[in-house]
């Protein structure tokens, strides 16, 4: 396959859960990285930045992987 698309056999419900999982993973991963940076630099706001960055990236990833072709 030449793009990041999921296997064509995936049913709608499975895709839905994969989308939710990706969004959740994005928030948790980048929120977590932001939280760790907070602990390192002794700040308080980097968590929120991490969550927003993670959410934005996850939405982008969902569009790339599960969005309609062309």
């Amino acid at each position: 396959m030449t793009d990041g698309r999921q296997p064509s056999g995936m049913s709608g419900a499975d895709e839905g859960w994969a989308v939710v999982g990706t969004l959740f993973a994005g928030v948790v991963v980048w929120g977590g990285i932001g939280w760790l940076i907070d602990l390192w630099l002794d700040t308080t706001f980097v968590k929120a930045i991490g969550v927003l960055v993670g959410l934005a990236t996850a939405i982008y990833l969902v569009v790339v992987k599960y969005g309609k072709a062309g």
Partner: protein, 271 residues
């Protein structure tokens, strides 16, 4: 009979109040303990329930496949139907013809989980061993190793990780943001959610049933006007038993379907 007898292991004696069942239900008194290579083992009634349930399931399938006839008898028919639900309905449906190779593992997984889940409503057992976190963790670990192994063997180590961690169609600089998310969602969250989903459903279901059952006994025996609520508690425990049966079978099925989907995903990229 009072509620304190039902929950003898965790209720303070001579306490007139309602002693609600808690997570301690899953930590009963050990029947036998021993140490092996520095690891402490405790055999509890939950372990014995697991052994009996698994033995029953294994016996059933062995007995059903002995002397197989072309025109099946009842036991063989049930065993064949059960195996076919997983082999055709899940393995072939989700993975494709390649999936038939995994049908024995998927069927064993399904029947192991379903029989142990159902122990939650069988009288005298009434606790699902799959509600102890270790069992779903081990099952999810086996699935995790399996789908990664299949993916690596199908595509090679490099391409497998490349396909998983670096989805195509993403401009190169964004990989810095996207790859940790992909890594976490495939290699961290999958085994975690697989195990926690089964564990939490069984834990919660068992506690629900225990609360309604213990509550019914308490409300009947406490001796004041609260007794009018006892039939409500009893009705709820009956309803929840049926609901639990549904959840138990469903969670076993979901575990197996997700395992198949992960295997299918690991194999698909090779086209």
């Amino acid at each position: 009979m009072s509620a304190s007898i039902v929950l003898a292991s965790e209720c303070p004696p001579n306490d007139p109040g309602f002693c609600a069942p808690s997570v301690l239900e899953f930590f009963p008194k050990p029947l036998a303990t021993f140490d092996l290579f520095g690891v402490h083992f405790a055999i509890t009634r939950i372990t014995v329930i697991l052994w009996i349930a698994t033995a029953v399931m294994v016996w059933f399938f062995i007995a059903a496949t002995r002397n197989m006839q072309l025109v099946p008898g009842k036991r063989q028919y049930f065993a064949e139907s059960g195996y076919s639900i997983i082999r055709d309905g899940v393995a072939r449906e989700v993975i494709g013809t390649e999936g038939l190779r995994f049908a024995p593992y998927l069927a064993s997984l399904f029947f192991f989980i379903v029989i142990n889940n159902i122990m939650g409503i069988i009288p005298f057992a009434q606790i699902p061993p799959t509600g102890r976190f270790a069992f779903p963790v081990v099952l999810a670990t086996i699935t995790y190793v399996l789908f990664n192994w299949v993916g690596i063997r199908q595509q090679g180590v490099g391409p497998y990780f490349k396909n998983n961690l670096f989805p195509a169609g993403v401009p190169k600089p964004l990989y810095l943001l996207v790859t940790p998310i992909e890594f976490a969602s495939t290699f961290v969250f999958r085994p975690f959610t697989l195990s926690v989903r089964l564990f939490a459903n069984m834990l919660a279901g068992h506690l629900l049933l225990a609360i309604f059952a213990a509550g019914t006994v308490y409300l009947f025996t406490v001796g004041n006007f609260s007794v009018i609520f006892a039939p409500v508690s009893f009705a709820m425990s009956v309803v929840m038993t049926f609901f639990e049966l549904l959840v138990q079978v469903l969670q076993a099925y979901v575990f197996v379907v997700l395992t198949s989907a992960y295997i299918a995903g690991a194999m698909e990229e090779a086209h």
